[in-house]
Amino acid sequence: MMEQKYEDIVQQIGTVILGKEKQIRLALTCLFAQGHLLIEDMPGIGKTTLAKVLSVCLGLSFRRIQCTSDMLPGDILGVSVFEQKSGSFIFHPGPIFTHVLLSDEINRATPKTQSALLEAMEEQQVTVEGKTRRLEEPFFVIATQNPFEYSGTFPLPESQLDRFLMRIEIGYPGRQAEHQLLKGDEPKSLLAKIKPCLDKEEVLKIQRKISGVHVSDAMLEYLQDILDFTRRSPHFYMGLSPRAGMALLQTAKSWSFLHGRDYALPEDLQQILPWVIGHRLRSKDDLQQFSNEKINAFIMEVPIP
């Protein structure tokens, strides 16, 4: 049943985001694995549309923030505004109080703002003026950044990149897909046609079910072999952290669940691997990140036990 629903969602989103099935599946996997998504791509490629469609499809609320260098943490988290009439402060929740938050060009925000956001992502709660407020579940951040622009940006440091479960690129649409895009209706009108397939409760239920996906010892061993490999191989500046290991596990579970299984296979891990570890590893040679092809080539060096 779940598999059917999943295919429906993928298909629905596919009517808006053309020819990007893999990315849609990955984004859904990430969401159901209770992780946050980083999209690295240029503007106008459909990031915002993807985020919007996702939230509509899943029946979740959606907010968007555009990061700039003069943005302050308060702009995201919310502020207490002084009401001169009553002489007291009233809390105005920021855009973060939503289910799906699209944070555009996160590398334009100052490190302070970035860390406030990432803190909230990690803890699922925000602390404003000494008072802790919980964010409503599910909470899902899609951050985008433009990798080609350097000046005036604050690239996310390694430790904060680690908070994103996945990093994906959307890329240009294929020729056929673009043809359809140009020929077809306006995305806005398409968006209006999308109907929610799930609701909030169902999303939470699926998230709980994913935690119960069986991962056998053989599977864990394979996962550990991969972690070991990155820690010992001289290709990498630094190996994967235990948090990365947990991210891999969670993603693999989610991927297999969405494909209608209650157990994970090595293939699941291989499918999601480049997107989960790509932003977590750097080349020893020049500290650059690896291409997906290169990561896939490394994985071929780790035999399945």
Binding site: H214, S216, A218, M219, D262, Y263, A264, L265, P266, E267, Q270, I299, M300, E301, V302, P303, I304, P305
Partner: protein, 650 residues
């Protein structure tokens, strides 16, 4: 100078263990030298001393060599050589700093081991040799892998040794042996106990105190009864009063002896550095490089320096026939001396009608005149036979035998003395008799008309139990040497006896397999495989066989060492999966090591449709068993069955 590293200590241990069996053969100062230098090394390692300089080391070396030259009187002879090795073993750790030095130090340890094998050959030293090689090799491995744990290195050493043993045995039995030596090196004369060319009064009673093994006789059939266990060694012809001597050398025996009651057996003789062999009375063949003399003593062409085995046949019932002309020397007596004895003999001769009666009178004389059989006979005067016969009347077998032979010759009966052993202990666990030096005995043979040479043992007249039950019962208990007296009674001595017998039985096996193995054994052994060592072709064949067997054993071991996977250690699900994959690989569908089961099944399904169904079924079961929690015994059974059935070729 850099300080010593602590890996010197195991090297010293290896040297000490190798040298230990040599300690009795070393001069005390050499032992002291080693202990001193090694203790110094322990301290030097402990406290990080740099050790002596070049000049000091040179002086020490020169001093050590000079010491050996002076105290041994030479520098290259057997004893001195071992002394020299010990000096080097003491010195070497002192200058051991490089990897090369350490290796050479261990080589010295190996070399010392082989010298100890030249000193004595028995099972104990063989076992010790293996132990010593084990330790030395472990140290050698340690030298080449200093970061390893010593225990692991000992294990590795044991592994190599155990794997080397089959090859060693092959080489041992197949490597062509030479008859004789390459060159006649002068060997040190170690003091061997046993018979000499001459016999003085009291020689044998001294031997009784010697617990060393003399030889061992292994019988293929029944053991001879105790009264017949006379082991013939030397025959003494010349009487010199108090002393008997071999005298003349008998010619080689020409004709076959007519005899009955044959015994087939082999004798393994401890080296005694003399030329005679010991055989049950009366030997009839000359084994190996020995000859059988006309007086039925066996004589080797060489001095017996190593434990060796001889296959013999003896007859305990025999008739040697008429007296040969040269044997008339058995009537000769010294011109003067012991006049009373001569008179007594003449008296008996006059009274008697036959020679047998004379013998009877002589034996009766011993019986009736309170002669005492004792291990501690008193010293005899200038006419020792008279003194013994008429005054002291106390003696051991040589006293009785020589007096009796003297009397016989004086009475005109040809008589000769035979030296050898009497009795021996049958082993409880093996069909052999072990004979010790303490079993040494002397008896008399007289020549009688129609009977030939006949054994007469005058000791029997005085102490009949000596012949039937051995020494322990024949002499009084307080005279016996410690090892013979049965002071400890009961269980403890019983256990001791059992252990001793067991040990001797094992020793006997060992000796007959390894120590006694000779050119003749090899020849007959190889002849069974159609290889005749007498011919050049046969020699080449045996060498070829060795090479072939070495290569074969190398291949066998390699197969073990270079085996690909320890499949057995994996869990059964995976083991059958590997089997399944290798079946497919042989059919041309190899699995990449990183390829998951579903991808693999998909790939095969695309490549060969006919396999798809069967492969999918197996893979599904595999996934259930390995990756889900639904796996159970039924699935497993089906999975195993399908994998075993699976044949990708149809």
């Amino acid at each position: 100078m850099k300080p010593y590293d602590k890996n010197i200590i195991p090297i010293i241990c290896a040297l000490a263990i190798a040298l230990a069996p040599q300690i009795p053969h070393l001069k005390p100062w050499v032992v002291g030298w080693c202990i001193l230098l090694w203790s110094y090394m322990f301290l030097a390692v402990r406290y990080g001393w740099a050790g002596p300089g070049k000049v000091t080391r040179f002086l020490l070396t020169a001093g050590g060599f000079l010491g050996v030259a002076v105290s041994y009187g030479k520098i290259l002879g057997g004893g001195a050589f071992i002394g020299l090795l010990a000096i080097m073993a003491g010195l070497k750790p002192l200058e051991t700093k490089t990897h090369r030095d350490k290796m050479i130090a261990v080589f010295i340890a190996y070399f010392i081991v082989i010298t100890s094998l030249f000193e004595s050959e028995n099972l104990a030293i063989t076992i010790y040799m293996f132990l010593s090689v084990l330790i030395s090799t472990a140290v050698l491995i340690h030298v080449n892998h200093p970061s390893g744990k010593l225990k692991a290195n000992v294990k590795q050493s044991a592994k190599i040794m155990v794997q080397a043993i089959p090859l060693m045995i092959l080489l041992f039995f197949l490597f062509p042996r030479l008859q004789g030596s390459l060159w006649g090196l002068a060997r040190q004369k170690t003091a061997h106990t046993g018979f000499t060319e001459s016999l003085n009064m009291g020689d044998i009673s001294k031997l009784v105190h010697n617990d060393k093994a003399a030889f061992r006789a292994e019988f293929s059939g029944d053991l001879p009864e105790p009264a017949k266990r006379y082991w013939r060694g030397i025959v003494l012809w010349r009487c010199e009063g108090a002393r008997w001597h071999v005298g003349i050398r008998a010619p080689q025996l020409q004709h076959e002896t007519k005899a009955a009651e044959p015994y087939e057996y082999s004798v393994i003789i401890e080296p005694h550095n003399k030329r005679w062999l010991f055989a049950l009375d009366l030997p009839s063949n000359a084994p190996g490089r020995s000859i059988l003399l006309d007086d039925y003593s066996l004589r080797l062409n060489y001095n017996l320096r190593h434990k060796q085995r001889f296959n013999l046949r003896s007859y305990t019932s025999y008739n040697t026939g008429p007296l040969k002309p040269w044997e008339r020397t058995a009537l000769k007596l010294p011109a003067r001396g012991n006049e009373n004895a001569r008179e007594l003999a003449l008296l008996w001769a006059l009274e008697a009608e036959t020679d047998e009666q004379i013998i009877e009178s002589a034996l009766n004389y011993f019986k009736e005149n309170n002669f005492l059989y004792t291990l501690n006979p008193p010293l005899l005067g200038s006419n020792p036979i008279d003194d013994f016969l008429f005054n002291k009347k106390q003696g051991y077998c040589e006293h009785f035998a020589s007096a009796f032979a003297f009397l016989m010759r004086a009475a005109g009966i040809p008589a000769r003395l035979v030296g050898g052993y009497l009795g021996g202990k049958p082993n409880l666990y093996g069909n052999f008799i072990s004979v010790r030096q303490s079993d040494a005995h002397v008896w008399v043979e007289v020549w009688l008309q129609g009977k030939g040479w006949t054994r007469v043992d005058p000791t029997y007249a005085v102490a009949p139990s000596r012949i039937d039950q051995g020494m322990e019962t024949a002499v009084s208990a307080d005279e016996l040497p410690g090892f013979l007296s049965s002071g400890q009674q009961g269980v403890f001595s019983g256990i001791q006896e059992v252990i001793r017998n067991r040990w001797e039985a094992i020793n006997a096996k060992w000796d007959s397999f390894f120590i006694g193995y000779s050119y003749d054994d090899q020849k007959s052994f190889l002849l069974r495989f159609g290889i005749n060592l007498e011919t050049l072709k046969g020699k080449l064949k045996s060498l070829l066989a060795i090479v072939a067997l070495i290569i074969l054993s190398g291949i066998i071991l390699s197969l073990r060492l270079f085996r690909k996977h320890h499949v057995g250690r994996r869990d059964p699900v995976q083991r059958f999966y590997i089997r399944f994959c290798s079946k497919l690989e042989k059919a041309g569908f190899p699995r990449r090591s990183d390829q998951g089961p579903r991808d693999y099944a998909k790939e095969i399904g695309q490549k060969k449709r006919s396999l798809k169904e069967r492969v999918d079924e197996i893979i599904d079961l595999y996934i259930i068993l390995r990756y889900t929690r639904r796996g159970n015994a039924n699935y497993m059974k089906k999975y195993v069955f399908l994998v075993n059935q699976f044949n990708p070729r149809h």
